[in-house]
């Protein structure tokens, strides 16, 4: 039963973060949205894996999510370094609609 609850939580997180990602313009809010989206996807993985008959949840799903978390923190670190540099060079905390010139 707890599987279904957390599966729906995962889907809910994906929906909310997708909407937030498209709607927000501030750099940090977009990074937050990507992180929540990743957490939603991992929640679906582990919720499904928790039905495994073994004492812990499905070990392969756990290994995939641990790999996913490390990849997510790497991407977040790069995104935040970029966001900081953009703010320092352009003075704006949002993506400037730059033209070609």
């Amino acid at each position: 039963m707890s599987t279904l609850v957390f599966l729906l939580v995962g889907v809910g997180l994906v929906v909310m973060s997708l909407h937030a990602l498209f709607v927000h313009t501030h750099l940090l809010r977009q990074v937050l949205a990507i992180n929540v989206l990743g957490t939603g996807v991992f929640m679906v993985f582990i919720a499904w894996g928790s039905q495994s008959p073994t004492p812990h949840a499905d070990p392969v799903a756990q290994a995939l999510v641990i790999t996913g978390i490390v990849v997510a923190v790497s991407a977040t670190a790069l995104a935040l370094a970029l966001a900081l540099r953009i703010k320092q060079t352009t003075g704006r905390a949002t993506l400037s609609e730059e033209t070609e010139e």
Binding site: H26, T67, I69, A77, L78
Partner: protein, 314 residues
């Protein structure tokens, strides 16, 4: 540790377990909503850290302690610290967020999520084909804990590329950021706390690394704990390893160990194939260096680029 697992396996809570799950689920969704849409960005970041901790609680409820530890240490603590550090240097915006109207993309998102919900609900039952295979081959993996067996033996190639991704992210951050290693002046209180926390911290990090072979734990969780400790050390004014080739060696140690063991294994077999009797030691050898480089990388991601003298800026 086993006692906590039993508790989360509903034995203590019994029917109360479902109530706890629903409470946790509601808390997660409400916190996520606040994180994504609260007008104050600083509040969003702080709530993101508590959201991460609640998520690791959910993973405990789903009987995935390894992931719970990784989520708490890396997902909540470290990502939260990175966010706070960046927010402090970018400045908290005064005006509430201007919501750009993306009717099309929002529609696409809702459509995709409806499909997702529908797909999950019409999913056939849990097929444990792979889980049975993992438990069958566990004795040949050299470790007793299935997650570590999958991470460092059955799917070791994935983990090698993942360690490469972490190192790549660091090189990317160095390529982008120009901030020198700017650390605040160390305060006596922090120095005192670090001297108290250092020995048990190292012990916990090492224990997590070692226990990974038998119980939930392992290189990434241990590395994250040691990484947090390293950050404390830097904040408390310890500069010894802050630059130069020794730092680079520590950062690249994980990938180096993986490549070395992987290639040596090819002499007698295929890539990353450990002979049964040497498997345990090889896995521990790799895990030690991976934990070392995870700790160094996570700390350096936070502390910015060391201006080592020998190498000009790009």
């Amino acid at each position: 540790m086993d006692w906590v697992l039993e508790a989360s396996a509903l034995s203590l809570f019994g029917p109360m377990g479902l109530a706890l799950d629903l409470l946790l689920a509601a808390g997660l969704l409400w916190l996520a909503w606040r994180v994504l849409y609260s007008p104050d960005l600083f509040l969003s970041v702080v709530l993101f850290i508590s959201f991460g901790l609640l998520v690791s609680l959910a993973y405990l409820r789903l009987r995935a302690p390894d992931v719970a530890m990784a989520e708490a240490a890396i997902g909540a603590a470290l990502t939260g610290t990175l966010l706070l550090y960046t927010l402090r240097h970018m400045g908290v915006p005064i005006e509430p967020p201007r919501l750009a109207q993306h009717r099309l993309l929002t529609g696409l998102a809702l459509l995709m999520s409806a499909g997702l919900g529908w797909a999950i609900l019409t999913m056939p039952g849990f097929s444990d084909g792979l889980v049975v295979q993992v438990t069958q081959h566990l004795p040949q993996s050299g470790v007793e804990h299935p997650v570590t067996a999958v991470l460092l033996n059955f799917r070791a190639y994935d983990t090698m590329l993942e360690v490469a991704v972490l190192l790549l992210a660091l090189v990317g951050v160095w390529a982008v950021s120009s901030t020198e290693l700017r650390l605040p002046a160390p305060s006596a209180v922090l120095r005192g706390m670090v001297s108290v926390l250092l020995p048990p911290g190292l012990l916990v990090g090492g224990y997590l690394l070692w226990v990974g072979a038998y119980q939930p734990g392992g290189a990434f969780q241990g590395g994250a704990v040691l990484g947090g400790l390293l950050v404390l050390l830097f904040l408390a004014g310890w500069r010894a390893l802050a630059a130069g080739w020794l730092l680079r060696l520590a950062l690249g140690a994980g990938l180096l160990a993986f490549l070395a063991v992987g290639v040596l294994a090819m002499a007698g077999g295929s890539l990353l194939e450990y002979r049964l009797e040497a498997a345990k030691n090889l896995i521990l050898f790799i895990e030690f260096f991976v934990a070392l480089s995870v700790a160094a990388t996570l700390a350096m991601l936070l502390l910015g680029r060391p201006g080592s003298a020998g190498e000009q800026q790009p």
